[in-house]
């Protein structure tokens, strides 16, 4: 089994997929770093004041002013109210949510890339794991070996898990290393609030507690890893079903982007919450953002994703072991 996995990793390595992905992240992170830096700079200039408490107070007042406007959609108003309660809590407890530093950047980066960027990168690796063997004809050579089919597929899947872990780690290391040049490397111990949940219009704060930022980041990366695994598994399934890598990529791409669009407009289509792509933003539950659909929670999303992944695995293995290869 070890040898098989090693063999698969060697193939991935030869194809330079991981290398390309690291290059993509390394190219994007400076871009985001610069954007973040500009944002911090302009807000400081605008207020002419470096004190974050004043800045946060201004944000609160601005939100209150927006709330008093009568032409506003209900779900947007709800979101603002939650945001407001949270900001007020930060202010009352003297916690700076925007304290600059590489860990903060990492956190923002991972929160924003969990539903699209990282799944896309994972998809690039997973899409042609099986389908390229089918379209290139090498699958015959692979299957003529005296190894059970499910073991071959399992080795491929394990290789996928390993490369997903590698991609997540690479994005963590790169975002920390590169942004630290600008923001400094400190800030791991900063306390952050988590445990917000929403029920209806209320922000439920009875489970709210503080955790240090390093733990927060570790938790968020754990969630990102999980999401990437699920997306990887589904791509893997498509890769087993279809011979063409382009088709696999196309379908996955469409599904992921549809998820991003749907999250913005499904608030009244309730059964959409069973789709895997609207459940990808798991980090929002940690930071206490409003869910796209009423009734979604961290546990719910985790289970939905898990069910999709298990279904994907079952389909992959049954199809792969049964199908005729010619």
């Amino acid at each position: 089994m070890n040898k098989l996995v090693h063999n698969e990793l060697l193939k991935l390595f030869r194809k330079r997929r991981l290398f390309v992905i690291i290059l993509i992240i390394a190219a994007l992170v400076p871009l985001f770093t610069y954007a973040q830096y500009q944002e911090v700079k302009t807000t400081r200039e605008k207020l002419g004041n470096v004190d974050w408490r004043t800045q946060l107070q201004q944000e609160i007042v601005d939100t209150q002013n927006r709330l008093s406007s009568s032409r506003m959609q209900d779900d947007w108003r709800k979101y603002l109210k939650i945001r407001l309660a949270q900001q007020q809590y930060y202010l009352d407890h003297n916690i700076n949510p925007q304290a600059p530093g590489a860990p903060t950047f990492m956190r923002v980066f991972v929160e924003n890339s969990i539903d699209l960027l990282l799944p896309l990168l994972v998809m690039v690796v997973a899409a042609d794991l099986v389908s390229s063997e089918a379209s290139g004809g090498t699958i015959k050579l692979l299957l003529t070996r005296p190894v059970k089919r499910w073991r071959i597929l399992l080795s491929k899947y394990l290789a996928l898990i390993l490369s997903v872990s590698f991609i997540v780690t690479a994005s963590a290391v790169l975002s920390y290393g590169i942004s630290g040049v600008v923001f400094g490397y400190g800030g791991w111990g900063m306390p952050l609030l988590t445990g917000f949940s929403t029920s209806g219009e209320e922000l439920v704060t009875n489970n709210v507690h503080l955790i240090p930022q390093w733990q927060y980041i570790l938790m968020e990366f754990g969630l990102v890893w999980f999401v990437c695994l699920v997306v990887g598994t589904l791509t893997f399934m498509l890769s087993v079903l279809l011979r063409s890598t382009a088709a696999v990529m196309g379908i996955m791409l469409a599904a992921l982007i549809a998820g991003a669009i749907l999250s913005n407009m499904v608030s009244s289509w309730e059964s959409a919450k069973y789709l895997f792509m609207v459940n990808l933003s798991l980090t929002d539950y940690i930071s206490g953002m409003a869910t796209p659909i009423e009734g979604m929670s961290l546990g719910f999303s985790l289970i939905v994703l898990l069910v999709w992944a298990i279904a994907g695995l079952v389909v992959s293995f049954t199809v792969f072991t049964k199908k005729d290869v010619y």
Binding site: L18, Q58, Q88, L162, M219, L223, F226, G299
Partner: protein, 271 residues
């Protein structure tokens, strides 16, 4: 070389898979099963020091805190500055000091809502540090978007005014107890309906309202009630925004200039 690289990446991947698995497990533990243990952290952290920083630099700065309703917010001014924006420009011409302005006004705020707002520690901190405090309040109590004056029921209006006055006194008292030396400029009301048919009655109500507010201001030291009634008395339409209630740019300029003319600087701070 290549082989080494591969096994390195493999080892790294296995390691990171484990680390992220721990992270994921921690999420489950933290979000679903955490109760008593992590709660202790909450009491541990809040209110770290770092409060004294702002006072040291105040000699070179003029700190202005603005609170109140839409007039202070600047509703109706296409540039969004409001009278405090023009006031700041005027002051900048007169002084070398750096002017630091925080605007915490909220559109549509009534006097009872303002009392709640100034209970917030951040607002209190701003008031505490301010050299000048700007305030507009009462417009929403009185006009309630223009409905109350249409009724013109004097008993009703007296009731609102009594409630407003007691709120106002509480606000003055709170501000004074937070900040003993800063000068408060309470910008008064004008009558946006002075060109309408009942203008005699409405103007009378606003005049009385202003008079009573000015009396309340006089009861406390260093609270200046700045009249605006006269500014809008003639040609009210030239100074009002199209909602016929808030001032427009020219109207805000008038208020800003008037208030700015009341703020003086010592000789060394003058330009």
């Amino acid at each position: 070389m290549r082989k080494k690289g591969l096994s390195l990446i493999t080892a790294l991947s296995i390691l990171s898979a484990l680390v992220w698995l721990v992270g994921l497990a921690w999420v489950l533990q933290d979000q679903f099963f955490a109760d008593g243990k992590s709660r202790q952290a909450e009491t541990m952290q809040p209110d770290t020091p770092q409060k004294q920083k702002d006072n040291s630099s105040s000699a070179k700065k003029l700190q202005i805190a603005a609170i109140g309703d839409s007039l202070t917010r600047g509703t109706g001014d296409p540039d969004g500055k409001g009278y405090i924006g023009y006031l700041k420009e005027e002051l900048a011409k007169k002084t070398k000091k750096e002017i630091e302005l925080t605007n915490s006004a909220i559109k549509g705020q009534t006097s009872s809502q303002l009392i709640k707002q100034i209970q917030q520690p951040q607002i209190q901190r701003q008031i505490k540090n301010a050299d000048v405090i700007l305030l507009t309040i009462g417009g929403n109590d009185l006009f309630r978007g223009g409905q109350a004056l249409e009724e013109l029921d004097s008993q009703n209006i007296n009731k609102t005014e009594d409630a407003y006055l007691s709120n106002l006194k509480a606000i003055y008292k709170e501000v004074r107890s937070l900040n003993k030396s800063g000068i408060v400029y309470h910008v008064g009301l004008y009558n946006p309906f002075s060109d309408m048919k009942d203008s005699k009655t409405t103007s009378g109500i606003v005049r009385k309202w202003n008079y009573d507010s000015a009396n309340a201001a006089a009861a406390q030291p260093n609270i200046i009630y700045v009249p605006t009634f006269d500014l809008f008395e003639l040609n009210v339409n030239d100074y009002l925004y199209s909602d016929h209630f808030h001032p427009n740019k020219q109207g805000y300029q008038l208020i800003g200039e008037r208030t700015a003319s009341l703020i003086r600087f010592s000789e060394e701070d003058q330009k």
